[in-house]
């Protein structure tokens, strides 16, 4: 990939260098060596568009030798009549001159920018061969009056048309169509022959068109048409010409033109050289099809296409120049694109990244799986930890306040104060004699009853709905699981249902893990709700104005034991579910040690949960004490 790209770069790079060569190779068929000079001049002008003035001077300098060349290539005839013209015609003379050169001097077509018009010219010259010389004479006669006319009317289409006719039609046609005009114009000025004047003409033309630089120069050299002078003098004129012109040009013609334009661009000189004869045939044949009226339209189209391509070409060359600035031959840039052998390839990097990503995903999934059954993490996620932390801060503040009060006291009040504190602490001791209560204390009904009673005793507006809701969720889940189990055991006899169920439980171990996870989650969620409940209770106890401390203590104890009972009840039910599920499975399918471990873990986390709850209730003691001594 990279190699071929760099090769492309190379070839493109060489393409520009070879353009002048290409031009000269084309020319060698029809024109003299001076043509290659012009070709050079053109490519230079286009490439150094930034320094327009210079280029103009340069191309002008190159143009000077052109004058003597023309007669050489065309049998020395056409130039002679042109000489000795007044300077007043210079501008339009140059157009005529262009027409001449397009006929006679193909060299200008070196520059790929102006291929279309110049080709026309060339094709004309090729085809007409010797005939051109008379036509050139006609033109030379035609020239001055025409330019006069143009000067007066600024009727560029006219002159354009004329020049095209001159270039491509039979002499007779030209004579016929323009005889009256020619006669009339011929009387206006005389035709003088002098090489000097040609120079001045060119000079003048260059200075006139100087503002648009290389493009104008190319036009002069190619001599496509004189319409350019007007078209380019104002953009608005141009756009209008484009509109009218393009509208009339046949799409086929346009397409052909652009194809022809594009041809010399690929940097293979052989192609263009080969393409030339066929191309000129095409061009001439299509030209014949066109009527007189269409000629103007066609030339305008050519102009537009060529000027557009000119611009593109200039941009392209400019880009290459910028690219090559300080980096001749694009060596450094090519090195940038080429691959270093020790560097890893993109595909390798991508492969490694994918592997790494997969590994990370696996690890993350494992960690997630572990987290799902991790009590502390879940407890934290359910905001249990932070509520406990806040409760602890509150408790510490109360403790500090109590100590401050204690320090301020002495004597009997101090004893009385201490007695109160101890009394409350004792009242808050949670009896751990749950053995006698055989009734199922863990049900939601009992829990709700106890909680309601406790809150009534505490006289704080803390709602226990969250605790109840969490408990209900757990019960619902357990009930659902039990239902499924019952169905399973019932369906053991019905083989067809059994098979269906088996496919669902492909991994019995996973089903057990699922129950275990659910158990831990339920415990963590419940404990977190308890932590929040205790925290809110503490906050509101601190806001309370009057306290019945003993009742409060009783209520806290009642609440704590109710909540702890609930926790053990939940743990027990999950354990039952786990063992029941394990029993339903074959001993071959499940390792009973694993099941026991799961069950143990559920009980372990349940005791963990109870510890949190009891800790929370202990944190309430300073709060209650502070209430008691206020």
């Amino acid at each position: 990939m990279a190699n071929s790209e760099s090769e492309d770069f190379e070839s493109a790079d060489e393409g520009i260098v070879s353009k002048s060569q290409e031009g000269s190779s084309q020319l060698s068929t029809s024109a003299a060596s001076s043509a290659s000079l012009i070709g050079h001049a053109d490519s230079e002008t286009a490439s150094t568009a930034s320094s327009k003035k210079e280029t103009l001077d340069q191309s002008h300098g190159d143009f000077v030798p052109l004058a003597p060349v023309n007669p050489e290539s065309l049998g020395a005839k056409p130039k002679m009549p042109l000489t000795g013209r007044g300077k007043s015609y210079s501008k339009h003379r140059s157009n005529i001159n262009n027409a001449d050169t397009s006929d006679s001097v193909v060299p200008s077509s070196n520059d790929p920018i102006n291929q279309a018009p110049s080709r026309k010219g060339r094709s004309g010259s090729n085809k007409l061969g010797v005939k051109i010389s008379p036509s050139a004479v006609v033109k030379s006669e035609l020239g001055p009056p025409d330019s006069n006319k143009c000067k007066g009317n600024t009727d560029s289409p006219w002159s354009n048309n004329l020049s095209n006719l001159n270039a491509n039609e039979e002499n007779q046609d030209v004579h016929d169509s323009f005889q009256p005009l020619l006669d009339k114009l011929a009387s206006l000025d005389c035709v003088e022959a002098s090489d000097e004047v040609i120079d001045t003409t060119t000079d003048k033309a260059v200075s006139n068109w100087g503002s648009w630089g290389s493009w104008g120069m190319n036009t002069i050299l190619s001599g496509a048409s004189s319409v350019s002078s007007h078209v380019t003098q104002s953009l608005s004129t141009m756009s209008s010409v484009i509109e009218s012109g393009l509208g009339a040009v046949e799409p086929e013609e346009m397409a052909k033109l652009s194809v022809e334009e594009a041809k010399p661009r690929p940097p293979k000189p052989i192609d263009t050289a080969q393409g030339n004869p066929a191309f000129s045939d095409q061009a001439s044949s299509s030209f014949n099809v066109m009527g007189n009226v269409l000629k103007f339209v066609e030339s305008t189209g050519e102009m537009i296409v060529s000027s557009g391509l000119n611009t593109l070409e200039t941009i392209g060359k400019k880009t290459m120049d910028v690219l090559q600035e300080g980096d001749p031959g694009l060596k450094r840039k090519r090195a940038l694109f080429s691959r270093e052998p020790d560097k890893p390839t993109l595909s390798q990097i991508l492969k490694e990244a994918r592997n790494r990503g997969e590994l990370e995903d696996r690890e993350r999934a494992q960690a997630k799986k572990a987290t799902r059954a991790h009590f502390e993490t879940l407890f934290d996620d359910y905001k249990g930890m932070i509520h406990l932390e806040a409760l602890e801060m509150l408790s510490n503040t109360c403790q500090l306040k109590l100590e401050a009060k204690l320090v301020a006291l002495s004597g009997t009040p101090l004893v009385e104060f201490q007695r109160k504190l101890i009394q409350i602490k004792e009242k808050c001791d949670i009896p751990d004699d749950d053995e006698d209560e055989e009734e199922d204390r863990g049900t939601i009904d009992i829990l709700e009853r106890d909680l309601t009673a406790a809150m009534r005793g505490l006289l704080v507006p803390v709602s226990h709905t969250k605790l109840i809701r969490v408990s209900e969720d757990t019960d619902t889940w357990l009930a659902t699981m039990r239902c499924i189990q019952d169905e399973d055991s019932q369906n053991d006899n019905d083989e067809w249902v059994d098979e269906e169920e088996v496919s669902e439980e492909t991994d019995p171990q996973n089903a057990l893990r699922e129950i275990h996870q659910q158990a831990i989650r339920a415990l963590a969620r419940f404990t977190a709700a308890v932590a929040e409940h205790f925290h809110k209770t503490a906050e509101l106890l601190l806001l309370k104005e009057e306290h019945d401390s003993l009742l409060e203590c009783q209520s806290v104890v009642m609440m704590t034991s109710a909540l702890c009972s609930r926790v053990s009840s939940v743990a027990a039910r999950f354990s039952e579910l786990l063992s029941a599920s394990a029993n339903m499975l074959d001993s071959t399918q499940v390792d009973h040690n694993d099941v026991n471990l799961l069950i143990t873990n559920v009980f372990l986390e349940a005791s963990n949960s109870s510890s949190y709850i009891q800790d929370a209730s202990l944190l309430l003691i300073p709060v209650l004490q502070l209430g008691a001594v206020q």
Binding site: Q366, A367, K369, A370, T371, A373, H374, F375, E376, T377, K383, I386, H387, A390, M393, L394, N396, T397, R513, H516, H535, K536, E539, L540, L542, L543, D594, L597, L598, T600, N601, L604, E605, S607, N608, S610, S611, Y612, Q614, D615
Partner: protein, 212 residues
């Protein structure tokens, strides 16, 4: 979700200035026009990324009511950042700023980054406190200042994140001792728990081991 640091924030300010709404907008990206009165403190948490590091913001949204003042003071301790909020449509909430600031400075560590927030910037027509006044107050007391709207979410993210950036810079400068949790900064767990063990809490759990 593992994190590099955990920053504790507190949001303080008069009741009804929109503290809880700011938190809700930041954590849940939604706005609730009618909000229950906060009892004591509520919590919110969100992960943010600063300098390529995951930082968990643990936000303590305190009750603004005067009655809870003594309680909420207990929660200031150990906060790394504080958002001191007033309502631009109620002059008195701006006037109370000094008291809040004194409270915050007294009950928290001196390095705590405090961001002054003029909330409800969407209610431009009812504005009573000019932005310049807020800026001046912030400048005078060395606070960062921002006007926000919990309703339109304007500047809400910025307020929380800029505070975190300031804290993070202080950590980089060594102003905060990250090993002292009283500064409100915790270093995240180095390793997330793996399935190799089910670590049990130290509290009350006599039996060791685990399963799976």
């Amino acid at each position: 979700m593992s994190y590099a640091y955990l920053f504790k924030y507190i949001i303080i300010g008069d009741t009804g200035v929109g503290k809880s709404c700011l938190l809700l907008q930041f954590t849940d990206k939604r706005f609730q026009p009618v909000h229950d009165l906060t009892i004591g403190v509520e919590f919110g948490a969100r992960m943010i990324t600063i300098d390529g590091k995951q930082i968990k913001l643990q936000i303590w949204d305190t009750a603004g009511q005067e009655a809870f003042r003594s309680i909420t003071r207990s929660y200031y301790r150990g906060a790394a950042g504080a958002l001191l909020v007033y309502d631009i449509t109620r002059r008195e909430t701006f006037n109370h700023l000094t008291t809040w600031l004194e409270d915050a400075r007294q009950h928290s560590n001196s390095n705590m980054v405090i961001m002054l927030i003029g909330n409800k910037s969407d209610l431009e027509t009812r504005r009573e406190v000019k932005k310049e006044e807020g800026e001046a107050f912030a400048h005078e007391h060395g606070l960062i200042f921002m006007e926000t709207s919990a309703k339109t979410a304007a500047n809400v993210e910025e307020a929380f994140i800029n505070t975190a950036k300031e804290i993070y810079e202080k950590i980089q400068e060594g102003v905060f001792d990250i090993n002292n949790e009283a500064n409100g900064i915790k270093i995240g767990p180095q390793h997330s728990p793996t399935n190799a063990s089910l670590p049990s809490s130290g509290q009350g759990a006599g039996q060791g081991g685990g399963c799976c």
